[in-house]
Symmetry: C2
Subunit: 339 residues, 2 copies
């Protein structure tokens, strides 16, 4: 097992990425290949204890956050993102972890490893902390515009992911819309509703924003624009709540600082909602394992993303997804599109 | 001042709507016309103290939640929603408050009162409790698909609303997207970005989900699909937090029930995030005042929506919006579309 970590990706690369990788290597003994400019990466490792689990794979280029993804991947053949996927392609690594340009990661994944059969659009999957346990949100940013069958494929992939990775038994699937009735929403959602309704999945119909964390469903399907807003709002809200609560505690108790009992609650809430605990969002639908982290990921997020990547490799997630797609996709899509 | 309240609209109509109206009349002395089937409305008022501020305007029809809005408004001329707007049109009422079919409310508003000049698409505006004060979100459900100039008009209307209704001085405007760079997002957002950038508004560029409550901007523009999901997620999250916090307090303090200090905090948080405090979402862009409430509105929400409606009538909001549109809209839109 070897994870290729993009040492040049993210707002605090290479330092913070290298720290996260070193922590993962020492805590869990995962073998890691840091892909990046050797000098910069080794400089970032200077004050750390050496571990046999870490090696550096040199490359000369870097893709910046604002660069157009497809063009960047095609032109920068020696960029850390492209090279990390090349390592997986050649069997020299088992998975990619990166906090870099997410569009470029998606493009590199598709162009280098290929898509799983019948998945037109790979997607990023997010896991949110719901009231009654984890809630899977798909897509959280890979596809800003989607056709109905893309949304349906997201649901099938998330279903496989829920069973294989999160140990869910019979996850219920909802389609995110602005009303519960099947005719509510935009064109794309109305047609996707019919595809889901015709499938063998446990589809409960449309769900609304207020249902996202309620536990009504375990899988929520939406396009990548909406999903990205939802994911980031959830993170932002957690932070907002945290601050409001801290102020509210002080005000309501008429004190200047939060008492120990209150501090415990705040800590609990903070941990529950900390995106760094999650690590990152897997790309589902490509023939390999890749985890996309926040650009602003702290070392802990990188570390946890590496653990997640290792877990998905162990569980052979791409292979399971492929089998799942075979089982679910063709029949209902073609039936509904024909009907 | 007289508010026409749709007594037949909402999940708990007419009882809960009538309760809210009675509370508003007795607390604030607002004159209210309850529009609905006389027998049902009077039955709902049976056990309440009579007040001279309330009268009933009989109508025979009702538009249900799932009905196609435009068709319903055209066919059901004697529905409570249509009749309420007719009262405003004839000068027998000054505003409409309803927890009924929001699409039908929008259609009735546009068809009966007309649009403010140069507003192609009226919008619902929501106000969220941000870390640093109120945040205006527009559109929260009127338009699921928008063109770039619609988004720009939403921003101009929200700007007028912020100045006139919320007393903001120099509200900053952000366009909701999935990345801060201007080229991020979908086609509609990229073009709207250019319209805003060419205007005299205080436009700060794209904002992301995590910025919605952070106080980075006071006005957030998005299409009605995304805005509706965001609004309902915020409400749902507040509820989720509330429950998680309650459990977390008990767990972290190793107790069976929340202590008084904790209960105070929970109450504070609950009030801060209770949508019923807000009452409802105004329709901006029609020639009149109308407030759309949640279908599931409790009496308190109806009561507060009536207060909001009265305030907007007093401040002559539609007239102010019209002047504001004149000032901001034509130049930058035409310049940017031409360029």
């Amino acid at each position: 097992m070897k994870i290729a970590v993009d040492a040049m990706g993210g707002d605090y690369a290479p330092e913070v990425v290298v720290q996260g990788a070193l922590q993962a290597a020492s805590e869990w003994g995962v073998d890691i290949t840091l892909v990046g400019q050797r000098e910069a990466v080794e400089h970032a490792m200077e004050n750390s204890a050496r571990t046999p689990h870490i090696r550096v794979h040199h490359c000369t280029q870097q893709i910046l956050m604002g660069e157009p993804p497809l063009k960047a991947i095609r032109q920068k053949k020696d960029s850390s993102i492209k090279v990390a996927f090349d390592l997986v392609k050649r069997g020299e690594a088992d998975a990619v972890v990166s906090a870099g340009n997410s569009g470029a990661l998606l493009a590199a994944g598709v162009l280098t490893l290929g898509r799983i059969k019948s998945v037109e659009r790979p997607a990023f999957v997010g896991v949110l902390p719901g009231i009654q346990g984890d809630v899977i949100l798909i897509d959280v940013g890979a596809n800003v515009d989607c056709r109905p069958n893309h949304l349906f494929h997201f649901g099938v992939m998330a279903h496989a992911f829920a069973l294989s990775c999160l140990g869910m038994k019979e996850p219920k699937i909802g389609l995110l819309s602005i009303g519960e009735e099947g005719r509510k929403g935009n064109e794309q959602v109305r047609l996707a509703h019919d595809l889901f309704a015709a499938s063998d999945l446990h589809f409960v119909g449309n769900v609304e924003g207020r249902d996202i964390l309620s536990g009504k469903v375990q899988i929520i399907v939406c396009d990548g624009f909406v999903g990205n807003v939802v994911l980031k709002l959830t993170e932002g809200l957690a932070e907002a709540m945290f601050k409001m609560l801290k102020e509210g505690m002080k005000d309501s108790l008429q004190i200047d600082s939060v008492p120990p009992s209150g501090a415990g609650i705040l800590q609990w809430l903070g941990e529950k909602l900390d995106y760094a605990e999650q690590g990152g969002a897997p790309i589902l639908g490509i023939k390999g394992v890749a985890i996309v982290c926040h650009g602003a990921s702290p070392a802990k997020a990188i570390k946890n993303a590496i653990r997640t990547a290792a877990l998905y490799v162990e569980k052979n997630i791409p292979e399971r997804l492929a089998r799942h797609m075979e089982r679910f996709q063709t029949r209902p899509v073609q039936r509904a599109l024909a009907g």
